[in-house]
Symmetry: C2
Subunit: 702 residues, 2 copies
C-alpha cells in the first residue's frame, strides 16, 4: 500500500493488498494465456505494442475526461483523432491496422465507428460492388484509402426503411441522353437517415437507390454521390442535417440527407455485378448473393468486439469484487472481518460464467475471423480466374459463413449487452458512477444489437436456414454442409432418448453432442409447427431466433473444443477446461434448460443437479484463478478507463482521485443555482406571499 501523509484511523481498507495476494497464487502465466486469447504470440505482442503506442499518443489516448465531455467536445476530439489515426494507416499494413482498429473499437468506440464508416462501409461498398477500375479510382487514385481528398459515408438506411433494404425508396433514374443518373428523395420517408459522417464530415457517399431505367425498376443498387466539394461546401440539390443526440457514440456526426434531382455520371454507379450501358442496356448479375459480402466484415468485427468488451467489463467487475468487502460470510467465525464479495457463491455465479463466456468468445472470434478471410480469399481468387466450379464452391462456403456469422453477430452482441449490465450491477451503486465506465460502455454498445442486421431479423433468417436445411435432410435426403453438417444425424436423434446424463456433464464432447441433438429436435419441432401453420415462417419467428442463439453457442463450444484439444497438458489447460465446462453448463445447459428439458435431451434430475451443485462447484474451482484470468486479457488501465478496474486494485483511492480530478475542488466553486436556491429556502411565508387574502376575515365577507 502506498504511504500517505494524511491522518487516517480505524480499519483503513486495503484493497490493493487483496489483489496482490490473488496474483501471488497464480497457477499459470497470464502472458501465455494471452497468447491463447489472441490466437498467437505474434498477435499478442503486436497488440501490446500498439496499446503502448496509443497510450503515449497525446491525441489518441483516452482518459476519464471522456465521461464529462459534451456532444460538441466528443465530435471535435473524434475528428482530430481521425486525422491522427490516418497517419498510422499510411505507414502500416492492413493486418496490423486491423488489429489496431480492434483496440480502437474498445478504447474509443465512437472513433472506431466514425472512421469505420469511411474505411469499412464506404470503401467496403466500393470494393464489394465496384469494378476493379472503380475501386482503383476512388480507393487508390483518389487516395480515399488513406483518408485523403475523399471522406465517405454510407447512405443506406432511410427514415422509413432500415432492415428491409430491398424496400428503400430513393431513386436513381437513368438519363440516357446525358449518360447520367438522377438521384432523388421522393418523400420524407425516403430521407437518408442515421448516416454517420454526413452531418459535417463526408465529401462523398455511397447511396443505395432504386435503379430506374426507361421506366423499369431494377431494384436497389449502389451509387457514389459527391456531397461536398473540395471547399467542403454542399453541392446543389444536396441538403444535409444533423441527426442530433444519440444514446451513445455522440462523437459521430450522424446526419440526414435529402437529394433533389442530383446528377452523377454513369461511371458513379458501382457496376461489378449489375451494369448499365451508355444507351441504357441493363445487365443483371448472375449471383446476387455476392453483392452482400460487404456485410460480412462488419459481423466479424462485432464478434471480435464482443470478446474484447466482455473482457473489459468482466475485468472491472472482478477486480472490484476482489477489492470490495461487505458483510460476513454466513459460515464466518466470530473474529472474521468482512468478506470479499468475490467469495460469495452468488457473486461467483453472477460473474464467473461471464468470464468463461469471454474466454469462449475470444477463441470463437478468432476462428470466425480466419474462416472469413479464407473463404473471401478463395472466392475472390475464383472470381478473378473466372473459375466457375471454384465460384460455386465459394458461394456454398459463403452461405455457411453467413449462417455462422449471422448467428454469432446477433447472439454475441446480445450476450455482451447483458454482460455489461450484469457487471455494472455487480459493482453495486458505484457502477452507476460515470467514471466506473459502465454507463458509457452500455450506451456505446447498445447499438450493436440493432445495426447492421437487427438481431431479431438476423436471428430469424439464420433459424430459417436451419429449418430449411433440416427439412432438406428429412424430406429430400439432402446433405447439410459447413456449420450445419451435424443435421445429417437428424434421423438418429429424433426420439426421446436422454442424451446427456448427470455423470456426463464434465465431458465437453458429450455436452456438444447434447447441443446438436437439442438443435435437431428444436428445428424439427419448428418444422412441424411450420407445416401445421401453412408454411407461415413468420409464425415460428420466436423459435427461429432461439435456434440461432443455440447455434452460435454450438459454434463457440465446438471451436473451443477443437482448440482445446491442441493444447499441452498443464495447469493452464486445466483452467481452460473448467472455463469451458462452466460456459457449457451455465450459459448453454442452464440458460436453455427449458429447451433441453422440453425436448428431453436432459432429464430434470440433471438440471436440478446443475443448478444446485455442479455450476456452483465449477465457480468455486475457478474462484482462485479469477485475477490471473482477467489479467490475461492484457488490458491496460487506459483501455479499462474505469475508477473501479485499475490493475493495482486500489479502488477507493482511485475512485476518489478521479472524482476530485474531474470536479471543482471543494471550496473553490459555487453552483450557479445556489443563491437562487437559498433565496427560495428563505422565502416569506405562504400567508405573506398570498397577501393574507385567504384568511378568516375574508370568509366573513361572503
Amino acid at each position: 500500500m502506498e504511504v500517505k501523509n494524511t491522518i487516517q484511523s480505524g480499519n483503513i481498507p486495503t484493497p490493493a493488498l487483496a489483489i496482490q495476494a490473488e496474483r501471488a497464487k497464480a497457477t499459470f502465466d497470464p502472458e501465455l494465456m494471452n497468447h491463447f486469447l489472441e490466437g498467437s504470440k505474434e498477435k499478442s505482442d503486436e497488440i501490446k505494442q500498439m496499446i503502448q503506442q496509443m497510450e503515449r499518443d497525446p491525441i489518441l489516448q483516452v482518459s476519464s475526461k471522456v465521461y464529462d465531455m459534451t456532444k460538441a467536445e466528443h465530435r471535435l476530439e473524434t475528428a482530430r483523432k481521425i486525422a491522427r489515426l490516418a497517419l498510422y494507416i499510411e505507414l502500416e499494413n492492413f493486418s496490423s491496422f486491423e488489429n489496431r482498429m480492434s483496440l480502437v473499437s474498445l478504447m474509443d468506440p465512437q472513433l472506431h465507428t466514425r472512421i469505420g464508416v469511411h474505411l469499412g462501409l464506404f470503401l467496403g461498398c466500393i470494393r464489394g460492388n465496384g469494378t476493379s477500375e472503380q475501386m482503383y479510382y476512388w480507393v487508390l487514385n483518389k487516395e480515399a484509402a488513406y483518408v485523403k481528398q475523399i471522406y465517405g459515408c454510407f447512405a443506406m438506411t432511410e427514415l422509413a426503411h432500415g432492415s428491409n433494404v430491398a424496400g428503400l425508396e430513393t431513386t436513381a433514374t437513368y438519363d440516357v441522353e446525358n449518360e447520367q443518373f438522377v438521384i432523388n428523395t421522393p418523400h420524407i420517408g425516403a430521407t437518408k437517415w442515421w448516416i454517420g459522417g454526413a452531418a459535417h464530415s463526408a465529401t462523398h457517399t455511397t447511396v443505395y437507390a432504386r435503379l430506374i431505367v426507361k421506366g423499369k425498376d431494377y431494384g436497389v443498387k449502389t451509387f457514389v454521390v459527391p456531397l461536398r466539394d473540395s471547399n467542403h461546401n454542399l453541392n446543389p440539390g444536396v441538403v444535409v442535417g444533423d441527426i442530433g443526440a444519440k444514446m451513445g457514440r455522440d462523437g459521430i456526426d450522424n446526419g440526414w440527407i435529402q437529394f433533389s434531382n442530383v446528377r452523377i455520371p454513369r461511371y458513379n454507379m458501382l457496376q461489378k455485378y449489375c451494369k448499365v450501358s451508355a444507351d441504357g442496356e441493363v445487365t443483371e448479375p448472375p449471383n446476387n448473393q455476392l453483392s452482400y459480402s460487404a456485410l460480412l466484415g462488419g459481423r466479424v468485427v462485432m464478434v471480435k468486439d464482443s470478446f474484447r468488451w466482455s473482457a473489459k467489463v468482466v475485468t472491472i467487475a472482478i477486480r472490484y469484487a476482489i477489492a470490495r468487502r461487505q458483510f460476513k460470510a454466513s459460515k464466518a467465525g466470530e473474529n472474521d472481518g468482512e468478506n470479499q464479495i468475490m467469495n460469495y457463491p452468488l457473486h461467483q455465479r453472477r460473474l464467473i460464467p461471464l468470464l468463461a463466456t469471454a474466454y469462449a468468445f475470444s477463441n470463437g472470434a478468432n476462428v470466425l475471423d480466419q474462416l472469413s478471410k479464407k473463404t473471401m480469399d478463395s472466392l475472390d481468387h475464383a472470381v478473378s480466374q473466372d473459375d466457375k466450379a471454384g465460384i460455386d464452391k465459394g458461394i456454398e462456403e459463403m452461405k455457411s459463413l453467413f449462417v455462422a456469422s449471422g448467428s454469432l453477430k446477433s447472439t454475441c452482441t446480445w450476450s455482451t449487452l447483458n454482460t455489461i449490465e450484469q457487471c455494472r450491477q455487480a459493482c453495486g451503486g458505484h457502477g452507476y458512477s460515470s467514471y466506473s465506465g459502465f454507463g458509457k460502455t452500455y450506451n456505446d454498445w447498445a447499438v450493436q444489437c440493432t445495426w447492421e442486421g437487427d438481431n431479431n431479423i438476423l436471428g430469424m433468417s439464420i433459424g430459417k436456414q436451419l429449418v430449411k436445411n433440416i427439412s432438406g435432410v428429412i424430406k429430400d435426403g439432402n446433405k447439410a454442409t459447413g456449420i450445419l453438417d451435424f443435421l445429417n444425424n437428424t434421423k438418429q436423434y429424433l426420439n426421446n432418448e436422454i442424451v446427456l446424463k448427470k455423470d456426463q456433464l464434465e465431458s465437453l464432447e458429450q455436452v456438444l453432442k447434447a447441443v446438436e441433438v437439442a438443435l435437431i429436435r428444436t428445428a424439427n419441432q419448428a418444422l412441424a409447427d411450420l407445416d401445421k401453420n401453412g408454411e407461415d415462417w413468420d409464425y415460428i419467428g420466436a423459435r427461429l431466433v432461439e435456434l440461432s442463439k443455440m447455434l452460435a453457442h454450438f459454434f463457440m463450444l465446438k471451436s473451443f473444443l477443437e482448440k482445446f484439444n491442441t493444447l499441452e497438458e498443464g495447469p493452464m489447460k486445466l483452467v481452460l477446461k473448467q472455463l469451458a465446462q462452466l460456459y457449457s453448463s451455465s450459459v448453454i445447459l442452464e440458460g436453455f434448460s427449458g429447451i433441453f428439458l422440453t425436448f428431453k435431451v436432459l432429464d430434470s434430475d440433471t438440471v436440478s443437479y446443475l443448478s444446485s451443485e455442479y455450476i456452483q462447484k465449477l465457480c468455486a474451482d475457478l474462484r482462485p484463478h479469477v485475477i490471473p484470468l482477467t489479467d490475461a486479457f492484457n488490458l491496460s488501465d487506459m483501455i479499462i478507463n474505469s475508477s473501479l478496474g485499475n490493475y493495482d486494485g486500489n479502488v477507493y483511492e482511485n475512485f476518489f482521485k478521479i472524482v476530485k480530478d474531474r470536479n471543482p475542488a471543494p471550496g473553490s466553486y459555487t453552483a450557479p443555482y445556489e443563491e437562487e436556491f437559498r433565496a427560495h429556502l428563505n422565502r416569506p411565508s405562504l400567508e405573506d406571499r398570498q397577501r393574507n387574502e385567504i384568511n378568516e376575515d375574508n370568509e366573513e365577507l361572503v
Copy 2:
C-alpha cells in the same frame, strides 16, 4: 393526415392513419380501463388534472430539450423545479402530492429523486427515527416539510459500505461533559458517498454513524447534522465535494462528505428508539425492526414506478410498431404492401407480454400501496396507544409486508429495466436516437436495481425468509402467515405430481396454484441444499434470488385475480383476462420453465405447447387491442416525451420535426472542426511530409 405544402411523390407513408384505424376498432373504453389501472375513477381524474397542470406550468413542463442538456443545465433546471414544486406542496394534501410525485417520477426522474431525498429520505428518517418532538421541530417548526429553511440530504452510504449498513464506519462519539456528539470520518473508506443534494444544495443531513458512548460501540444510529448555515456556507469541519457525472439523473448534485470532529447537540441524535441521556446512559430499543420501516416507502414507490415506466416505454414501442411497416408478411399476396411490424408474430411475442406485465404491475402496485398504508397506520396507532398486542400484530404484518415489498421491489425494477431495453430494441435503429427517449429512460432507471437495497441482496434476504418459513412449517409445524400462507400446504405438494395440465392453462386459479407448488418445491430443494451444506446460506444464494422473483410474480398474479373477480363481465374484462393469461403463461410459466420442468409442476408437452402455440395465440388475440390498451395508460405526449411515441402516431413527421428543432438548421452552421478536417483531407503526400527522406537514393547511402 395533415395537408402539407411540400412536394412529395411516391408511396408517402401514412402512419397516422394506421393508428386511427386501430382506435376505431376498440372494443372497450380506454377511460374506464384507466380507472382499473389507477385503482379508482377519482384517482384517475386527479392524475389527469395534474398532468394538465404540469404540462402548462412553464417551469415543470418537460420537452425533448432534456435530451440535449448538459449536466450543469440539468442541475440548474432541477433546482428551479424544486422551488416550483415546493409551492404545490404548500397548497395540497399529502395524498394528492403523493400522486403528483408519482407522475414527476415518470416525467422527470431526476427532479423526483432530488426532491425525494429531502422529502422521502431526510424527512422520512426523522419521522421514522425521531421522537415526535424531534419530528415537530425539524419537519414543522423549521418548515422542512414545505422545503423552507432546511433542505436535507441523507448520509447513509459510505465509499466502502453500501449494502451492509451495520458495517458503516463514521463515528458519533458522545462527549458527556458538553452533552454533544462528535461526528467523525476516520478514513477514506468512511467518506459519505453518493449523497444526493450534498454537493451544492443541502443545509442539513441525517447521518448514519456508529454511536460510541464511554468507549462502547452501540452500532449504527441516526443523527441530524447541519452542513451549511443560512448563508449557505459550509460549517467548520464539514468538507463536501461533487461526485460528478452519473449514468443517469445528472440533475442531482450527489456529493461526498467528510466530517472532521463536527459537534452537534445531544438533541440531534434521533431518539425514537435508542436513547442517550445527558449523562451517557444508553437505552436500547425493544424492537429494532421498527427502525427500518423508513425503507418501506421507497420500495412501494419503486413498484409504482415500475408500472408507470413500463407503461411509458411499452406505449412508445407499440405505437411505433403500428406506424412502422417493414417487409411483406410471409403469407402476403402479390399485391400486398409492407406489413405493420406489430403484425409479425415475433414482434407480438416481444411486446405484448411486456404490455401484459405493465397491466399486472399496475394492480399489484395499488394493492401493495394500500397494504403498506394500512399496515403502517395500524402499527402507528398501536405504538401511539402503547398497545402491546397491537404492536406485536403490527410487527408480524410488517414482516410480511417486508417480504412482499422486497421481492416486488427487486423483481419489478429488474423487469422494468428489461422492458425498457426490449422496447428500445423493438424500435430498431430509431430507438438509439436520444429523442426516442429510451436511452435516457434506461440510464435513469438503471439505478433502481442497485439502490435502496441492491436487488440481489434484497432477493437473497426474501428467499431466506421463504426457506426459513418452509423449514418452520416442515420441521416445527409452524403456521406461515401473510403473503407466505400458501406454505401451509407444503406437505400436500411435495411429490412429483404434475400440477398444471395442458388443458388447465387458461385457468388463472390453476396457474396460481402451479406457482405456489413451484415455490414450495423450489424452497424445499433449497432447504435440502442448505442442510447438505452445513447451513451455509450463502451457498444457496442463487436459488434464494430465484425464489424471490417467483414470489413477486405470485403476488402480482394473486392480486390480479382478486381484483379481476370483482369486475363486471364485458369486453373489458375479457381483454383483462387475456392479459392475465398472457402474463402468467409467458412471463411466469415460460420465463421460469426450467424450474417448472425440473420440479415437475408442468410436463414437457405442456411447455412445448406453451412455446409453440398457446402464447402466440394469446398474443394474436390481444393484437387488435394494443392501441386502446396503451391509450388507456392516459400518458400525454409531454409525459411520453418521445419522437416515436406521440398519440397521433405520425412518427416520421414528428421525428423529423424534433431533429430539426433540436439541431442547427441546414446551411446555418459550420462545425468547429470542419476547417481542420478539410485541411487534413487536403494534406500533402506522405513523401512530401517525410521530406522524401525514405526513398531509393537514401537506401544506396547505407
